[in-house]
């Protein structure tokens, strides 16, 4: 995520005085901010989806108890085709921990794993939201400045027009 653009982070290091920027620069800054906020929203949406997936897996574990050993289940071979099967092991599950590695864990261990993952992803969402709120604030301020500058330009134009009118 960390792109090395010309620093648009007034809070980091160099401070940029917004009122010193020209209208063009302000518009550019606003565009960039809009883009960044969009990326943040997109990212947090993806993270939320991942969180739901972990939560779903966690919920599924509630259904598996040592009692379920030997119980009949339907195993999906594809999304639309199932074969009957039997739970061979109700004590442990195998979970995907990424990069092709799978580990066997007992039910409690697996629940713990998914809970940790859910809270980890939650923390990341939290972080992104914080930055996103900051950016939105900055975006609002920039939008105001643009508005002010536009108004100033407009009124000075009108004034000069009036002056012309009174001259003639």
């Amino acid at each position: 995520m960390a792109t090395k653009e010309e620093s648009v982070f007034p809070q980091v290091g160099q401070q940029i005085e917004l009122s010193n920027l020209s209208l063009q620069q302000l518009t550019q800054l606003k565009q960039q901010l809009d883009q960044e906020i969009h990326v943040f929203l997109e990212t947090s949406r993806t993270l939320k989806m991942a969180q739901t997936k972990f939560q779903d897996s966690n919920d599924c574990l509630e259904k598996i108890t040592p009692d379920s050993e030997g119980k009949n289940i339907m195993v999906p071979l594809t999304g639309s085709m199932y074969v009957p099967g039997r739970v061979a092991n109700g004590k442990s599950v195998i979970i995907d921990i990424g990069t092709g590695y799978f580990i066997q864990k007992d039910i409690d261990g697996a629940k713990d794993y998914f809970k940790r993952k859910v809270s980890f992803v939650g923390e990341q969402i939290e972080k992104i939201m914080q930055v996103s709120v900051e950016k939105s604030k900055l975006n609002k301020v920039v939008a105001q400045k643009i508005q002010l500058q536009l108004q100033a330009q407009l009124s000075s134009q009108q004034q000069s027009q009036q002056q012309e009118a009174t001259k003639s």
């Binding site: 995520m1 090395k4 195998i94 921990i97 066997q104 864990k105």
Partner: protein, 123 residues
């Protein structure tokens, strides 16, 4: 004379665009590596949490193959080292491209100024 500068300008802009393309490519690559490093770090953490007798499998094609825990840890560490070295390589590349970009931008600016000067003289 004006045409000459125009040609030079065009050439410089083309070069600048090429560098920019490389720059974006390197940036995307960096992002991907960063993601991979994160994933591997998470896997390493998880493996470190396991007891010695825990069962570890690796997905190879469509099958899960049982792996030794120690071996798996070593493999993940090796991968992380590799990704880190790749990251360093890409970072160096990015700083290099950054400098190149600046140089081209400066050259373009200079040529543009020359061009404007010519136009003014003409007018």
């Amino acid at each position: 004379m004006v045409e000459e500068i125009q040609n030079k300008l065009q050439l410089e802009v083309d070069k600048y665009k090429a560098v920019q393309k490389d720059y974006h490519k390197a940036l995307a690559q960096r992002q991907q590596l960063d993601g991979q490093l994160n994933e591997n770090t998470a896997v390493k953490q998880e493996l470190d949490l396991l007891r010695k007798d825990a069962e570890v499998f690796k997905l190879i094609g469509p099958v899960l193959v049982k792996q030794d825990l120690e071996e798996a840890k070593q493999n993940v560490s090796k991968r992380m080292d590799y990704i880190r070295s790749e990251l360093k390589r890409i970072d160096d590349m990015i700083t290099g491209l950054d400098k190149k970009q600046d140089a081209h931008r400066e050259a373009i600016n200079k040529l543009q100024q020359q061009f404007q000067l010519m136009q003014m003289k003409k007018a």
